[in-house]
Symmetry: C2
Subunit: 337 residues, 2 copies
DNA sequence: TTGTATGCGTTATCAG
DNA sequence: CTGATAACGCATACAA
């Protein structure tokens, strides 16, 4: 592959001159510039990003760490980031962490080896202390979907407690008094916080939430189905089902439907996230909108600008980037009769 | 960030020695090796991937070009690639092409600037000639979901004609004689080929497919809804609906249900792809399995091995990597009464 | 306006 | 077993 040197030789000029026209530097004669440009075209010259990164000490790239590309939620997240990256002309380096401390760390380290100084990472398994350390070292480090007080100015996150309250209150407002929760079995913050929010709202309303009416399972459709089967088998009594996410809610709904219940007439079901599936399933799922794409885009922009202007980050030390979910009313929730 | 030089200084040895322990090179004393290793740990040394790529003339990365991360189909594709990349310890560089010639080319060129010699690209908009040129230049260039005779040994693709035949034949076997097709309006090969397969099967069975019963729309749920609305408005007569993909089929189904038709009792609907949604929607969609994740994984492996052993590619010049879809029977298709 | 020289972090080829 | 040293492709301070 042609290098800057080859171009220089072909054009009968020095490396420096070629480098200048590549970078649109000043101080180059118009004729020389034009001539060199055509030669570059002819020879199919492509700047070597690695060499550039090496000499510039920065990489024009944006790292992304997410759990799993196959999960629609993360795909949307990645998409939000990718959109910004393309606009800013930076390459995205993608790594997956699969919600395991070891893998998440490895993913970040790989990114670090590529010297990408801007990255948005979704980490659930890594400890606060590790993340704080990383965040301090890496100028454009942005944590998405997690809040850590010490580095809150590098966190773009959703208020899950508010979310839990919101979904419970929505049901309460419609007259529901008997609740079941289909939660995630993973020991990470999100399910705790959402459950917390739910509990707070119910307590405030004076409604009891029997621990037996909370089922923990894998946060996917199958997990939702199983959880609902368990609830039903146990003879749990409820008219409102709160799902940890849309997949679980949809799964729970499937089981209910299969068992002859009517949704929403007999039982109302609400999801969380508002991924595509909530619009596809029948009845269409009432859910909470998790503005993940918007959040991801903001995270990407923050990462990029903090990386290029570290002082900008310091001057915003007391800021944080909090989002709140909103209710999307569709067909799976109804007033109690 | 600490460099190899810093380590050398701290350890009181030369660069060469440090480099050797980093690469597990031979000829280093055990004590020296151990000492250097601890020093590297202490100083938090991380090899600079850019410098490495520069001197090695290769990049330990895998480029991916797809249309849109937000599309579940592409997310699954990307996931298949990512799985292999992680196993082989290479970084994935992701770029999107959004089915536009210009953008697709730009995406590939960016990858090229990063000197990644292995890449799997999904291109629909670029011309054969351009792709052929690229494929010849780049050792590990693999084209996914597209077949080009001249570079067939670098193509991993699905037989869409066979797919079209398959879906039509499935309906025929169940007694259907009145067909409607909900196709994509994009001027790319896939819809043509699928339609071709459908036509071939119907002709062979002596069943007529009225051109008025083919509707072209955007290949998503909304497009499916609109297409079906048009069909219905026009008073088209059919008992079997063949969708371009699952999203369109689901959309068509939604409209049918909304209009009071029963699926599959009145009308049968079949999709294509077997993405998540086909299992979530109600009734569950009968569809064709597009083994995209498997294909993507194979593509990634091919790309990586061709990149590291170019001769291997040459010795397989007459091979190609063709896949055939299979029917996944679920709930949206029934025998005609 | 153009050219020369140096260094970015690493690997590899030599000597020692 | 270990150490100099020359690349790799590029940008830039400094000369001319």
């Amino acid at each position: 592959m042609a290098t800057i040197k080859d171009i220089a030789k072909a054009a009968g000029v020095s490396l420096a001159t070629v480098s200048r026209v590549i970078n649109d530097g000043p101080k180059v004669g118009d004729k020389t510039r034009a001539r060199i440009k055509t030669i570059m075209k002819e020879m199919g010259y492509r700047p070597n990003a690695n060499a550039r990164a090496l000499v510039n000490q920065k990489s024009a790239s944006l790292g992304v760490v997410i759990a799993e590309l196959a999960d629609p939620f993360f795909a949307t997240l990645a998409h939000g980031i990718e959109t910004i990256a393309r606009k800013k002309n930076v390459q995205v380096l993608l790594s997956t962490g699969s919600i395991e401390a070891k893998t998440e760390l490895k993913a970040i380290e790989t990114l670090l080896e590529h010297r990408c100084e801007a990255m948005v990472v979704h980490s659930k398994a890594l400890k606060d202390s590790v993340l704080i350390e990383l965040a301090k070292q890496i100028p454009g480090f942005i944590l998405i979907n997690r809040y850590i007080e010490e580095i809150k100015h590098q966190c773009v996150w959703l208020d899950n407690i508010a979310g839990g309250q919101l979904m419970a209150n929505h049901m309460l407002k419609l007259g529901h008094k008997k609740f079941a929760v289909v939660s995630s079995k993973y020991q990470i913050d999100d399910p705790y916080q959402r459950l917390d929010g739910i509990r707070q709202a119910l307590i405030k309303a004076g409604v009891e939430l029997n621990e037996e009416n909370i089922e923990y399972s894998s946060p996917d459709q199958e997990g939702g189905e199983i959880a609902m089967q368990n609830l039903l088998t146990r003879g749990a009594d409820f008219t409102a089902v709160l799902g940890y996410n849309d997949a679980m809610a949809a799964g729970a709904m499937t089981t209910l439907l299969d068992q002859g219940y009517h949704v929403p007439d007999d039982i109302s079901v609400i999801g969380y996230d508002d991924v595509l599936l909530s619009r596809y399933c029948r009845p269409k799922l009432t859910t909470l909108k998790y503005p993940i794409e918007m959040m991801a885009s903001q995270a990407a922009e923050l990462a990029l600008s903090f990386a290029s202007q570290p002082n900008l980050r310091e001057s915003n030390k007391d800021k944080t980037y909090k989002y709140t979910p909103t209710i999307i009313k569709r067909e799976s929730v109804l007033k109690t009769r």
